[in-house]
């Protein structure tokens, strides 16, 4: 009989090994899924994980995409991980991402066609503010009325999507766009453009900020009292209260930081890779970032690696769609599977599996 025996403290080795194990298991299960779809599983896995980086003709295009896609994922996931550690569940990052993009784009477009160099910095502040303000709704409702932040932040995603639709066809629509939905193309306006900083790398300001966020989160969690309080509140809420940690302050802080970072990710996306506010410029980074945060074990360095890996599956998924006609949603199911396997093998890090005869109590 298999029994689970709780370890006195989580195994460090397994904590590092489980994400790798989960990726391997997902490759196997995903391979089976591709086989059921009638595709060669080995070819599909190679196209998703290998070809975007090393294929002789595609790699030149897809390698820079790695940073373009990883940037927003890492930025959002870093913010979310602080909350998840403290037991504050912001799952509405997608909505904060949209609101940041709308706020930033609105600020910039309000000054069109002025070419002041101050416009882009202003847009960044507006973007962060937009995401922050949107995340303050669940934060205030949670601290004032004890309303569940999971449900509120998630429901606000749908509200943000409706606002986005209204922006794309209404208040932000390009007046010279012959009636088509979508704003002016920000990436073609000098003062509002978030450019590729080093040609051929995909590096833009959002990616730079993502790297800064990784370092800042690392310092915060390891060297700062606040980081200690975040970890304590998540692991032992009662002890945290006795130690004088104000839970409401942590809720506002965690939701605020994750909201602002998601808003920034949205602003950098809409002024760079996406280029404009359109009805569907958001591609679910806010939700995928949840997977990134867990896959990275809520650890800044882990999130950096997990973000790159998830970006790879996005690019590889597009490539697989092109070369093997694998339907686009398959990759979304693949990403979901990854989180399942991670949660499943996680049992190894906090429990020992023992073979033992069942004892009659």
């Amino acid at each position: 009989m298999l029994r689970l025996e709780k370890r006195p403290s989580p195994s460090k080795g397994w904590i590092a090994a489980t994400p790798v194990l989960a990726v391997v298991l997902t490759m196997i299960a995903g391979g089976l899924m591709f086989a059921v779809l009638g595709k060669n599983p080995f070819e599909a896995i190679r196209i998703i994980f290998w070809d975007p980086l090393f294929h002789e003709s595609f790699a030149a295009y897809s390698r820079p995409q790695l940073l373009v896609k990883a940037g927003p994922l890492i930025l959002i996931a870093i913010g979310l991980s602080l909350g998840f550690r403290a037991g504050v569940w912001n799952i509405g990052a997608e909505g904060q991402y949209i609101m940041g993009a709308i706020a930033g784009a609105s600020f910039g477009l309000a000054f069109y066609p002025s070419e002041s160099p101050l416009i882009f910095p202003g847009m960044i502040i507006a973007g962060a503010f937009g995401g922050w303000a949107w995340s303050m709704i669940p934060a205030i409702l949670k601290t004032r009325f004890r309303t569940n932040e999971i449900l509120v932040s998630l429901l606000l995603v749908y509200v943000a999507e409706k606002i986005l639709a209204s922006a794309a066809v209404g208040f932000l629509r390009n007046p010279e766009g012959s009636g088509f939905p979508g704003s002016r193309n920000l990436s073609r306006i000098e003062s509002m453009n978030n450019p590729e900083l080093i040609p051929g790398t995909g590096m833009h300001w959002g990616v730079v900020l993502a790297f800064i966020a990784v370092i800042a989160a690392y310092v915060l969690l390891n060297k700062h009292l606040l980081g200690y309080q975040i970890k304590l509140a998540g692991q032992a809420p009662r002890a945290a209260r006795f130690a004088g940690v104000n839970p409401n302050r942590l809720i506002v802080l965690c939701l605020g930081v994750s909201g602002a970072l998601a808003g920034l990710a949205g602003l950098f996306e809409v002024s760079g890779p996406a280029g404009q506010i359109s009805i569907d410029f958001n591609v679910g980074y806010g939700f995928t970032a949840i997977i990134v945060a867990f896959l990275g074990r809520l650890h800044p360095i882990g999130i950096l690696l997990a973000g790159l890996l998830m970006a790879l599956t996005y690019i590889g998924g597009e490539l697989a769609q092109l070369m093997l006609q694998i339907p686009a949603p398959a990759i979304q199911a693949f990403q979901g599977m990854l989180l399942f396997f991670l949660l499943a093998v996680d049992v190894l890090s906090s429990f020992r599996i023992r073979f033992k005869k069942e004892r009659v109590a």
Binding site: I91, T147, N148, K162, I290, F294, Q332, F334
Partner: protein, 307 residues
């Protein structure tokens, strides 16, 4: 252009049914102390599986069964992960929703625009033609009546049977229930499967009866609203029915106002069901005594039998 109250009430009941089904299932799951945030994923998978089977076999009944079966299958993943492998329920539920949204879009490739078979009504058409009460009481599909009967059944079982007592004991204090000899994990797994079946059926109703089409992500947050309804209902079955019909009323009304071209922006109307759900959640949770009184004490906590 006016809005006919009778058609509005009929529409309200149809709109509410999928959410009500999902909510009553989740209510039982939460009563056993498990928080499954994967309702949206199970609903949307139930919607696509039900639709695909109904279109291919021409039988809506088989479609409903397929919807339920797929909901159960997904809920079992959640059940095994959280109950056997002791994973975090919030994270696992989220994973179920993300996976379900991807899986459903994959399964539904090529199906948008197909026409599902017509669902026959359980009552003769003459009864539905009685003015006012006819369409409201006798003009629905079988599943709608099933959903109301299910509320009654859950209310009875939870409140007046030994099974209900066991379910509540497990949800209030799993260690005590375990000490009394109840199989906590088995009971929770069964509740989780029941929740999956209900969510899957709700999804199948949405695609086969209400919308009569398959669209990617067509549940559009209905699963999350079902979760909110459970809180709104303070874990009481009849209150869940009330909440579902309230939500359905807002949705049906805003759809009619959109069609009537009233002078309110479409986006404001379209976001109103979500906003009203949030407002209702706030009102319910702000009353400290009421909210805390009924929440199962072991909700979301991991159970690991030692010894």
């Amino acid at each position: 252009m006016g809005i006919d109250p009778v058609t509005l009430i009929v529409a309200l009941i149809t709109v509410s049914t999928p959410v009500l089904l999902a909510a009553i299932g989740e209510l039982v799951v939460e009563k056993t102390g498990v928080l499954n945030l994967g309702v949206e994923g199970m609903m949307v998978t139930g919607a696509v599986m039900g639709f695909v089977v109904a279109v291919n076999t021409g039988s809506p009944t088989l479609g409903f069964l397929a919807g339920m079966a797929s909901g159960v299958a997904l809920s079992l993943i959640f059940g095994v992960l959280t109950q056997v492998l002791l994973s975090n329920q919030v994270a696992t539920g989220l994973a179920l929703t993300l996976f379900g949204l991807g899986l459903s879009a994959l399964l539904g490739v090529g199906y948008p625009g197909s026409t599902p078979p017509a669902v026959s009504d359980p009552f003769p058409a003459a009864m539905a033609e009685i003015p006012v009460v006819g369409p409201i009481l006798f003009g629905h599909s079988m599943i709608t009546y099933v959903s109301v009967l299910l509320v009654a059944a859950v209310w009875y079982v939870l409140g007046y049977t030994k099974t209900g007592l066991i379910i509540r004991a497990v949800g209030e204090n799993h260690d005590a229930a375990h000490a009394l000899g109840y199989k906590v994990i088995r009971i929770r797994l069964m509740a989780i499967m029941f929740g999956g079946a209900c969510a899957g059926l709700g999804g199948a109703f949405l695609s086969i009866v209400r919308v009569q089409n398959w669209v990617d992500g067509m549940t559009a947050g209905a699963g999350w609203i079902a979760l909110a309804l459970v809180v709104f209902a303070s874990w009481k079955p009849w209150r869940a029915l009330l909440g579902a019909y309230l939500f359905g009323g807002v949705t049906a009304l805003q759809l009619r106002l959109q069609a009537a071209g009233i002078n309110i922006p479409v986006e404001i109307l379209a976001m109103s069901p979500y906003l009203i759900t949030i407002v209702v959640l706030v009102i319910m949770s702000s009353d400290r005594s009421r909210a805390a009184l009924n929440a199962p004490a072991a909700l979301g906590k991991v159970f690991h039998a030692t010894g």
